[in-house]
């Protein structure tokens, strides 16, 4: 069938302007989007840069936005993306810098962020060829995340990365999960693992939009994994001090008054002895006051004692 490919072009060597090139390609009905890109490169334009390796959906190297939806080119059939018309648009994934055309900078995604999760184990001592005894049942949680492609699709959907590129992102978090939940990481090692995922720009910066769940080609549900790690963190005591203060202030406020006291929350999160941190809040407070947006003081509300009992019950049941 005759299809039209509209492919994003960007070459920093030629000024880095981004544009689209259009190609007509004749392909069999059951061809994949990758088949078309390869045909264009082989027969029409051998400067077209894109990545692909295994061509069977195993390696995760060929993530591209096809008709604006990020997918693997090697497992996406042209028939499935031309139902609304014969045009196939290919653009690089979002949130990761472009090197050329459809090729993006995996250094920034894979290594800088994944490596921050310290995804390895340190042997305790000299190598001793003995085996760990691990019940199969304890592997269920980690088994799935072990199959992460490191393809970048989850980060592509992230709502935080466009405003804060330093956020570690769902991809790195899934890698963190794989070790936090590893049945061999117990005791002090488990606490260290939690501290790693709780570092600034880590676990607590996710805004739970759940986009990553829908993006993951392996169905690993990265957003849910982040939330599961938060639960584990609650149980072990939150390691990130600022987040712990935020958490405690929130609960205490609701427990004591039945309200969330936002003024107190902001100050207690910074830390009442953290003068530098508090000073940084002053301009915001001034702006809020001049515009009449300063939250008011909350008196203890009727029924606050019942709210307190609900919270205490919930805390006991954890």
């Amino acid at each position: 069938m005759e299809v039209t490919y509209k492919v994003h072009r960007e070459d920093p060597e030629n000024g880095g302007e981004s544009s689209f090139s259009t190609y007509q390609v004749d392909l069999p009905e059951d061809a994949t989007v990758l088949d078309g890109l390869q045909k264009i490169r082989d027969e029409q334009d051998d400067t077209l840069a894109f990545r692909a390796s295994c061509c069977q959906g195993t390696c995760g190297e060929c993530a591209v936005r096809i008709n604006w939806r990020a997918q693997f080119t090697c497992t996406t059939k042209i028939a499935d993306v031309t139902k609304k018309g014969p045009e196939i648009l290919c653009a690089p994934v979002r949130n990761i810098p472009v090197i050329k055309d459809l090729v993006f900078d995996m250094d920034k995604f894979t290594w800088d962020k994944m490596a921050a999760m310290k995804p390895w184990m340190e042997p305790e001592d000299e190598f001793a060829p003995t085996e760990n005894l691990i019940p199969e049942s304890e592997m269920a949680d980690v088994r799935k995340t072990m199959s992460c492609y490191q393809c970048g699709l989850c980060d592509e959907g992230c709502a935080v990365l466009p405003v804060d590129f330093d956020f570690l992102g769902p991809g790195a978090m899934v890698k963190g999960y794989r070790f936090v939940m590893d049945p061999r990481e117990t005791g002090a090692r488990k606490e260290e693992r939690l501290a790693v995922v709780e570092q600034p720009k880590g676990l607590w910066d996710c805004v739970h939009c759940y986009e990553a769940n829908g993006k993951c080609a392996r169905g690993l549900e990265p957003s849910s994994k982040i939330m599961e790690m938060r639960d584990v963190s609650f149980k072990h005591g939150i390691k990130n001090e600022k987040v712990a203060r935020h958490h405690n202030s929130f609960i205490n406020s609701v427990k004591q008054t039945g309200w969330l006291d936002e003024r107190k929350l902001v100050m207690e999160t910074e830390g009442l002895t953290n003068i530098g941190g508090l000073m940084k809040l002053v301009p915001t407070a001034v702006r809020a006051m001049t515009r009449g947006k300063m939250p008011g003081r909350h008196e203890k509300r009727p029924g606050a004692d019942q709210i307190k009992r609900i919270i205490e019950k919930a805390e006991e049941s954890k």
């Binding site: 069999p28 490169r41 400067t47 069977q56 050329k100 995996m106 085996e131 691990i134 590893d182």
Partner: protein, 600 residues
Amino acid sequence: MAGESYETHDYDVVVVGAGGAGLRAGIEAHDKGCKTAIICKSLLGKAHTVMAEGGIAAAMGNVWPEDNWKVHFRDTMRGGKLLNNWRMAQIHAQQAPDRVLELEEWGALFDRTDEGLILQRDFGGHRYARLAHVGDRTGLEMIRTLQQRAVALGIDVFMECNIQHLLMNDGRVTGAIGYWRESGELIVFNCKAVVLATGGSGKCWQVTSNSWEYSGDGMGMAMEVGADLIDMEKVQFHPTGMVWPPSVRGILVTEGVRGDGGTLLNSEGERFMFNYISDFFKAETADNETEADAWYQDKKNNRRTPDLLPRDEVARAINAEVKAGRGTEHGGVYLDIANRRDAEYIMRRLPSMYHQFKELADVDITKEAMEVGPTCHYIMGGVRVDADTSATTVEGLYAAGEVAGGLHGANRLGGNSLSDLLVFGRIAGGSAADYALGAAAAAAPDAAEVDRLTTLMLEPFTDRGEENPYAIHMDLQRTMHNLVGIIRTESEMLKAMEEIAVYKERAARVKVEGGRRFNPGWHLALDLRCLLGVAEAATLSALECKESRGGHTRDDYPDPDSKYGSVNVVTRKQNGTISVSLEPLPEMPEELRKIVEEQV
């Protein structure tokens, strides 16, 4: 173009390739105190190892306490039709279990037995369930563990950096030159030792399970500096590749399907493998369906199903069935697990296969049979190495993994590749480090030689013709598929030699468009040199080897010939031409010969 600029890096050991063997070699060289670089032409963690499915063969005895290195050694030698380097097979069988345990120390987590030990699965040619695995994506867990270990140790990794030539000084290898794919800038490494871990050359063939990286770089570069290659005609056609639809033809279907109970059927619904049990395997193979099926549960009292004969035997059988008109609509045979195991079991044991068929062929393997046929999968031959040190015949050059030859003889057993990478990756990295620590500093690369090579690498940008590199590559793949494929004959191979000569001339007239930044046409134009070199070496070896054995089948010499039963076919490049000779295999000690010949 002389005087083209390039960046220079100094290391003790440079490892080319970052699959299982390269990463394991780099880790070992680093651990021995060497300043080490790992260079990979694709992204870190995307090397071919990531695609390995079934598992790592290691006689740990977790499922069958009867298993030990001697049984693994025997299976490997018999699977390789005794053409293996016996010492490599022995070291491999002895050291594989420790390499598996070591991976778990670094973070890997394998599937478990009921007792919580590492689970092992059945595979073709292995007497006992022996493959340590993680579902059907063992390679992914293995390469992640190794790449993360390399990052943890702070080893320098050069990603998407393509090495093109080895640099020599005073008869020893002292460096390498290549280019960054991203920027197109040139890069030179000065070092005391180089480890080749570049994998195979399956991209010489049309129907292949191999990805674009497999262009024979290591074999080609080793040949250029005068290293010996052995047994280049021994090519493994994996019996089960996908055959339909055309765009996925050749993609691998793991042997684990048969290991977990799947069986091969022809278009008449017959389990045809019972008709193809060679005398060599008669004593240990079931000759009826009842015994074959019982073997999965009780290996002591039953013989193995012929569905799990070594790969060369099964591939030839499928080829013969299709030729006899008993193939499927698309020219394969059926592989059925849907009627033999329940859906839950299939989904748990073979999740990747389920998704692969669902996504690419719209086939639900829990309900329907798959269509499969042979696909070029692995090169048993490769750079000749010393068994104990992985040293090649050129000083300062080491090789491990698929790029090296010898361990697998005439045919590789499934699962023996991942263990090969770990065992010999470690040995090669260690030996290269020992050599580097004792060697004098490498002399600076000869400026004239570097100029010559940079000019060579940039030639495709000059005005020298109109040839398209992709067209040449496709023509080469078709030639190798049609004329040097699974069944070979002299007249066809002579024709292949003529065609390869034409492709070499055409390759010299390749012109690429555009600039040097991430330019795929240029990358392939450069890869053609090794692709063509390896194709030529394989064809010449195949012409010389006038018999059929393992991964080399001749229509004109259909039987094994004792003349070739104890020799390597050696290819060597001297003064620009490739010579072929037969050289005797090392003699196996008596006690090992007894193990191999023992009837079970």
